[in-house]
Amino acid sequence: MKTKLILLIFSLFHFALTNAQETAMSSAEITSFKQTVIAEAQKIKTLKTDFVQYKHLDFLSKEITSSGSMLLKNPDKLLWKYNTPIQYGILFKDNKVLVNDQGKKNKVDLGNNKKFEKINKMIIGSISGDLFAANDFTITFHKNRNQRIAKLSPKTKDLSAYIQTIILYFNDQQSTVSEVQLIEPSKDYTKIVFKNKQINHPINDASFSF
């Protein structure tokens, strides 16, 4: 009886372990995965998704949670909107950035905010898999039982001062990102989990305004 119990615990533990265990992709798997993701990213005309953002700070007992939605219309419109804990939105449109902070609207000129633009593009580019095409990162590819995982490390000091690694998780056989983890040099991180993704559903231009 005791042996059976030990075996059961062991097999459950083993199952949990193998489920979460990561292995490196083979070069054939990498080639096929990259091709699929880039090809799918190129097909994206519009993308609409809800998200939950978890900011992990090591000294806090829980994560700072925000949630909202994201609208993308290629090639140049993007709205990133938080609904909780505060109403806050960033709109990228016509090479300008507009911020709506709880009803207070500000225009941000991209020319003066190159770093701001770079960080945001990095976060946003990671959603559609666009970052694979960029030459700014060293990328390694992994997989576990349910996910395919890409780990991107910035090549330039400019970017690595802000982000140490970006981890993109692709659930099941999806070709767009399900979860992004942005790990900072201090090891604290921001995790963004996407849900209710809708690809190429019509989005009215008027949606890209405050």
């Binding site: 700070l57 000294f59 700072i64 900072e184 040099p185």
Partner: protein, 203 residues
């Protein structure tokens, strides 16, 4: 002769710079008591604030946490709304440690200002040397800095005004709720155009 001219000029200069008292020096009398700053004194207590920083016409927003992590230390962190950490500093009474600061903010003058501001914000108690009964105000003199501490009608700390001998450097205003928990606060500088507003948000 030259010596006496110098003495007269010095005397004129010194009498021209009046020692700063917000409510007239005559109203302050010596006292030996302690004024508590309860807002960030709870060990391991976690509250989240939405921060808006105004600096010479520019505005920066984000999430702010100040947590007492041990008997002597507070951890102070500001992140952007998108989540990336802007600064992360551990502050104690006699020293501080910058755990992380974003490149753009990594200037000695900025960090020194932040450390001074947040040290005053999180200092748990002030030993008061003088009291002004008319205005519920105390004066604490510590390491050459003067802290004018004003309490509200409920006896809670409402304002800390940090001054040199002659003028105000910055002030912190606290707005507690009916339970004494800090609803909002702001830090306003007088010599530089810097104002920081913080409003409590659910966590």
């Amino acid at each position: 002769m030259r010596h006496s001219v110098f003495s007269i000029l010095l005397l004129l200069f010194l009498t021209g710079c009046k020692v700063y008292y917000p409510n007239g020096k005559e109203n302050y009398s010596a006292i030996d008591t302690v004024v508590q700053n309860p807002y960030f004194s709870g060990l391991n207590e976690e509250r989240l604030y939405r921060a808006t920083i105004h600096f010479y016409g520019k505005e920066l927003t984000g999430m702010f946490v100040a947590k007492r992590i041990s008997q002597d230390d507070h951890r102070i962190v500001l992140t952007s709304d998108l989540g990336n950490t802007l600064f992360d500093i551990t502050i104690s009474k006699d020293h501080h440690q910058v755990n992380y600061v974003m490149q753009d903010l990594d200037r000695k003058i900025i960090l020194n200002t932040l450390v001074k501001d947040f040290k005053a914000l999180t200092q748990i108690s002030y030993k008061a040397d003088y009291q002004n009964l008319i205005n519920n105000q105390f004066l604490s003199i510590l390491d050459g800095q003067r802290y004018f501490l004003k309490t509200n009608d409920q006896g809670n700390l409402a304002i800390i005004e940090i001054t040199s001998t002659y003028k105000t450097k910055f002030e912190i205003q606290f707005k507690p709720d009916s339970l004494g928990k800090l609803d909002s606060f702001n830090i306003k500088h007088h010599g530089i155009k810097l104002k920081m507003d913080f409003v409590n948000i659910p966590f």
